[in-house]
């Protein structure tokens, strides 16, 4: 079955990022396909390459990147939500005249249309948030 996952909450806030990650892993373990993980609202902070949690804590951002690289997942960050929160890739940084980008590997920035497409293409779309 084709799954879509929507993450609306930032990492280390409550539990949505963890629940979404563990749900994604369980989907893959069951042989399902994950069409896309879409990060919206504060969920875009799951994609910050500059995240540095304490050494004995889980690294939510790196964990997403690793899972995506292992299973070739499409991790999409909402561009409008990202810009409001200072999250950008190299192209956006250049376009906005910023001196740095901060998006983590395996994430890409795109529009809400990607969420709509996931809703259309997936058999199930599961929302995690605050």
């Amino acid at each position: 079955m084709k799954f879509g996952i929507l993450v609306n909450e930032g990492p280390y806030q409550h539990q949505a990022s963890d629940s979404a990650y563990l749900f994604a892993k369980a989907c893959l373990a069951k042989g399902h396909e994950i069409f896309r993980v879409f990060f919206y609202h504060d969920g875009v902070n799951n994609a910050s390459r500059l995240t540095v949690p304490p050494a004995d804590d889980r690294h939510i951002v790196n964990r997403w990147s690793a899972l995506a690289q292992e299973h070739n997942l499409d991790l999409v960050v909402c561009i409008a939500a990202a810009q409001r929160r200072g999250m950008m890739d190299d192209n956006e940084a250049k376009r906005q005249g910023k001196d740095a980008s901060n998006i983590a590997p395996a994430f890409r920035i795109s529009g809400l249309g990607q969420l709509v497409e996931a809703g259309i293409q997936c058999d199930r779309l599961v929302t995690f948030g605050d």
Binding site: H14, S19, L22, F23, A26, R124, V126
Partner: protein
């Protein structure tokens, strides 16, 4: 329909609201802080028990364990792991997260 709730009944009224809207034959999965609604002595216990003949109630085992609540689960609540969570989403034709 699978309803997914993630807030404690003492924080928000989403468990009560969800149970009030869930149609007979649907399922409610309690995750994160909502697992408290599946435990003995919680403030929504009566409502959860009243709903159980018509609505299947599930609770996420790892979230119960993380809160030390595994031994206080109400009779009739089905405890599932993340694999069971995935199965519930797959088995029901649609799901709604009560955020």
């Amino acid at each position: 329909m699978l309803h997914i709730v993630n807030k404690s009944p003492s924080e928000r009224n989403s468990v009560d609201t969800c149970l009030g809207h869930a149609k007979d034959g649907s399922a409610v999965l309690l995750i994160e802080d909502a697992v408290y609604a599946a435990t003995a002595g919680n403030m929504s216990e009566a409502k959860v028990k009243a709903a159980m003949p018509n609505v299947k109630v599930y609770a996420l085992g790892p979230d119960l364990a993380a809160r030390g609540m595994s031994a206080r689960v109400l009779d009739g609540v089905n405890v599932v792991d993340y694999g069971g969570f995935v199965d519930l989403v797959a088995e029901h034709s649609n799901c709604q997260s009560w955020l």
